[in-house]
Amino acid sequence: MDIAYFPGCSMHGTASDFDMSLKAVMPELGITLHEIPDWNCCGASSAHGRSHALSIALPARSIALAAKNNMNTMFVPCAACYNRLVGSHYEISNSPDLKKEIEGLIEMPYPDKMEFFHLSQLFDKFALEKIKSGVKRSLKDIKGACYYGCLLTRPKNIITYDDHEQPQSMERVLNAMNVKSVKWGLATECCGASFSLSETDVVYKLTGDIIANAQKSGADFIVTSCPLCHSNLDMRQAKIMKLYKTKEIPVLYLSQLVGYMLGFPHKQLGFSKHFTTKKLKELFI
């Protein structure tokens, strides 16, 4: 299947491992990604505090560009980008006045129809059979904690795919690969995201709570699909281990886990780019 692709700004930097694993796995699953020509930053967590119109116009420009390219479905791997794009489309679709204003700002017509998919949603809807039949490895009794983060399932009236308090799309993907998952309490709790630079102590606490709860629930690894969550969980884990005495736990992107289970060599999946690598090597390499 063909789908427009909105990579998000972190794919070339902090989330280059996410990018690598996506590029490895998608062709195997019969999904062709068409990167939106000249897409721009979605505004993330900064635009909506500066100006409402700005926070809608930034995602709107990329959506209009995708439509211009004759695409009306879009894959958005980053949770924050997904949330901004879906939210903007929702607001514009429900307000003709806003639509007019935005079209004036982006100087392009804005499409009526655009459907958005995040990673576990894409796999869940279009690739479960191929994933199931392509599994070449087994993780036996190793269990994963599926961490969605706060933005993939909220607000509940705008993002209607998956339950907003107890989502299961990632668990379904793990199930298709016979990978065990744990029931745990903080699957949709905020990791502190955008405070990573400005209030790092907050991130240590929130992300530390998430790691502790995952481990208490019996998880051997955490699987996620948000670059900022991954960065907080993986890159900042060493400090969290010092502060909160948690044990080391590898953090994988969902596409890395799927790639691993489908038999891809770990070099193609970006494992070497992780910071928390000791346990990762033990379990996955």
């Binding site: 972190s10 993330a44 500066r50 930034l58 100087e107 706060c150 400005s198 907050v202 606490k205």
Partner: protein, 186 residues
Amino acid sequence: MGHHNHSKDKKDTRTIIEELSHENILKCYQCGKCTAGCPMAFKMDIHPHQIIRSLQMESLDEVLKSQAIWYCSGCQTCYTRCPQEVSIAKVMDALCRLSVDQKKVNKKSLKIKKFHDSFLNGIKWTGLSNEVALVADYKLRSKNFFQDVLLAPVMFFKGKLKLFPRFIKNTKAMKKIFNKTREEVR
């Protein structure tokens, strides 16, 4: 103690907030679910439900000067759980914008505002967020030069820090969008 309107032209707080956020704060009956679920409540000087209450009681000034509004992470947990479907996150956004406009930003929250300024400044010029440029800009604005310095070389060698910034082709379009939305407090 409320602030009384002395002129017919002055809007009440409920109207000001509704115009900025499209949220009706009078719907709130103080159940407290927002605060109970808020991941950042532990850092806030005024809790989310208390902010709504202060606004209902016309204490806008106190709220605009709080640290709390800048600590909102935008996770939408409040809106998702509110029985009256009030988007407290949207109200927080409006309060941040109003606080900047009225020059009432709490001194302790300035670094959070500066982070957002750095981020937005970066995408205004290039259309994309470039991590090295963002960190450099933020360090200059916040004068916090040494944080995360140890992580940087590791990130670079793992290919996670690209030294050269990336640009979209139509950077003119970005500047237009930013300039046209600059004046409004919306």
